[in-house]
């Protein structure tokens, strides 16, 4: 979108560190890993993350890393547009904000003013919060929300920490949603039937066009297959389904690849949902990304959420569900159905 393409610094060339976490072990290990980066001390992460008039688009080209302490609540009730997969007590948490991938349809572009990545190094405080909730009821927790935690595992080690924590807490089930290709981790963390790895899948053409910096479809499928082989429950998320003129061909062909790469009968479940986003978010995204056809698509506003016209939405979702039902029972297919997004 801009010339001067070699002008950008390398990703994480600058690491902003809250003074209060400068001596934390995780901070030290991250800084050790990025020896060539410039370290800039800050008093609060919002001084950098919440600056006015930042360019999410440009920051995504060369994201900076911010290491901080999360001082407020870090575990939240799930939003109605998110699938709860039948769990009564559905929560999500964010040990990081933003991710290293650059998906054109990502709601984070509308939610945050910055494309930089924040890592909260005090994960122990989040564990304590979850333990409080567990005293009241079982908890289903999405831990890779507002980020792709798996893609950050090399620098944070949070997936391993969450897996160990979950294994030790019988009433806790976690979902780790990812587009990451990593397989080595499944040998390093303890197998647990309450640690669900959820892979977001898209046809390769959609990945190439709209999911920049992410791994290929075949790499994701290979990782998902490996996770199942090591005893982890795996969920496949055909969500968001992205409309393009030849969507039917692309998604049908993707389904064949999925079928050939994975033992679908072994899956915990699958989710299906076409792209949808808060109307407030899309306003900001359209301004920031004028050249993105996904952002500029003439969506329909249904109860404050922008979605594809009903005909397109239903056709896409029904097609995927029909294909899936040839191999997996209806009960294992979750589809978004709620008041805001019927």
């Amino acid at each position: 979108m801009s010339s001067g393409k070699d002008s950008f610094n390398f990703p994480f060339s600058h690491i902003y560190v809250e003074e209060k976490v400068m001596d934390e072990d995780l901070t030290k290990s991250i800084l050790l890993r990025y020896k060539k980066s410039v370290v800039i001390p800050i008093s609060h992460y919002k001084d950098v993350f919440n600056r006015p008039r930042q360019s999410f688009y440009h920051q995504k080209r060369s994201p900076m890393l911010i290491l901080a302490k999360n001082t407020g609540t870090s575990v939240f009730k799930g939003a109605p547009v998110c699938q709860d997969f039948g769990y009564d007590h559905f929560y999500y948490t964010s040990c990081a904000r933003n991710c290293i991938y650059d998906c054109e349809y990502c709601y984070l572009r509308g939610m945050y003013g910055s494309g930089n990545v924040v890592v909260f190094v005090n994960i122990e405080d989040t564990f304590a919060e979850v333990e409080e909730l567990l005293k009241e009821h079982p908890v289903y927790l999405c831990v890779s929300f507002d980020t792709d935690l798996m893609a950050l595992e090399n620098i944070t080690g949070f997936i391993s920490r969450w897996a160990e924590f979950t294994k030790a807490h019988q009433d806790l089930t976690i979902e780790i949603r990812t587009k990451c290709f990593r397989k080595d981790l499944f040998d390093k963390i303890p197998a647990c039937d309450r640690v669900i790895f959820a892979y977001t899948l898209s046809p390769q053409e959609i990945i190439d066009k709209f999911e920049k910096k992410t791994t290929s479809l075949s790499e994701r499928l290979s990782a998902a297959s490996c996770a199942m082989g090591k005893g982890f429950p795996v969920r496949l998320c055909f969500d968001p389904l992205i409309y393009v003129k030849n969507w039917n061909d692309l998604y049908t062909s993707m389904f064949s690849e999925v079928k050939n790469s994975i033992d679908i009968h072994q899956l915990k479940d699958v989710s299906v949902g076409s792209f949808r986003i808060s109307s407030e978010y899309i306003k900001k995204i359209r301004k920031d990304f004028p050249g993105s056809s996904i952002c500029q698509f003439p969506y329909e506003n249904k109860g404050g959420y922008m979605q594809y016209p009903e005909k397109i939405k239903n056709e896409m979702e029904n097609t995927l569900v029909t294909l899936l039902q040839t191999l997996i029972s209806k009960e294992k297919i979750y589809r978004i159905e709620n008041e805001e997004n019927p």
Partner: protein, 277 residues
């Protein structure tokens, strides 16, 4: 356009000369200079935060700063431990304790400003007698320039460049104009390289054809709500690389466009949508 703010004319002179800038003879509250191709405009604010903030606002508003195309550069002298030319990554206002962070998106190492040249800076109200912290630089304008500019300028389009002229003195008279000018002259080649580099950073234009849009809006007898819908369709067509002019021409050949009523206009907007997606 590159917008440059210097505090003192002795700091600006070598740059004005190297860029062959001409003085703006319009009744300016601040000495202002511009290049004949209008790619650079420079103002001399005077010393201190109030003048710097005021001059920055004047410059940005008078010459119409574009957040998608333009850069703001603050170039000037500072106190520091060793001589050198620095890119600033943190600016702290000593009076308020607030810190500001220009986005460090661009790699300026090819312009003689590698990552190792980066420094934090403190904006103070008077010339420092000594360096409280030898690892940072001290000067008298940057925080107010950042604060004033942040109303107009995205943080990745603000560049602060400082050269060390002294290491603090209890007698400000010891810092002479000649000394500051000489210091600026030594950095001219680097700052010219930075300016040339920034000129190459141009964003693609995704603006829609406003004339065609207005014409279509009138021909469809559209209401305000329909105007929003139509604009979004124009934006989508632009992003998707679809030829809106041809689509409208096809509709005209089919006798669907222009229309005679708002109701017909609404129907045609639906047709446009269907054909685009």
């Amino acid at each position: 356009m590159l917008f440059i703010v210097c505090a003192l004319s002795c700091e600006a002179k070598p740059l004005i000369s190297a860029l062959s800038l001409r003085k703006d003879n319009f009744a300016c509250p601040y000495d202002t200079f511009f290049s004949t191709d209008s790619s650079v405009v420079l103002t001399v604010s005077g010393m201190g935060t109030v003048l710097a903030a005021s001059a920055t606002t004047y410059l940005l508003t008078r010459f119409g700063f574009s957040p998608e195309k333009d850069f703001l550069i603050n170039f000037g002298s500072c106190a520091g431990k060793e001589p050198g030319f620095h890119l600033i990554n943190r600016i702290t206002d000593e009076a308020t304790g607030r810190s500001f962070y220009p986005d460090m998106l661009y790699d300026l190492s090819a312009c003689g400003l590698p990552a190792s040249s980066e420094k934090a800076l403190v904006t103070v109200s008077k010339v420092v007698a000594f360096l409280k912290d030898p690892n940072v630089l001290y000067e008298m304008e940057a925080s107010s320039i950042f604060l004033a500019a942040s109303r107009f300028v995205p943080p990745h389009r603000m560049i602060f460049l400082k050269y060390v002229s002294d290491s603090g003195t209890d007698d400000p008279k010891k810092i002479t104009s000649a000394m500051l000018q000489e210091g600026a002259e030594k950095q001219v080649s680097k700052i010219l390289a930075v300016l040339e580099h920034l000129k190459t950073i141009v964003e693609d234009d995704y603006a829609i054809d406003e004339d065609l849009f207005l014409n279509t809006f009138l021909n469809l007898r559209a209401s305000e709500t329909m105007r929003h819908e139509l604009r979004q369709l124009f934006r989508y067509a632009k992003a998707e690389g679809l030829d809106m002019e041809k689509l409208l021409s096809d509709l005209e050949k089919e006798g669907l466009y222009p229309v005679n009523s708002k109701r017909e206009g609404k129907e045609v907007i639906d047709v446009i949508r269907q054909r685009l997606i």
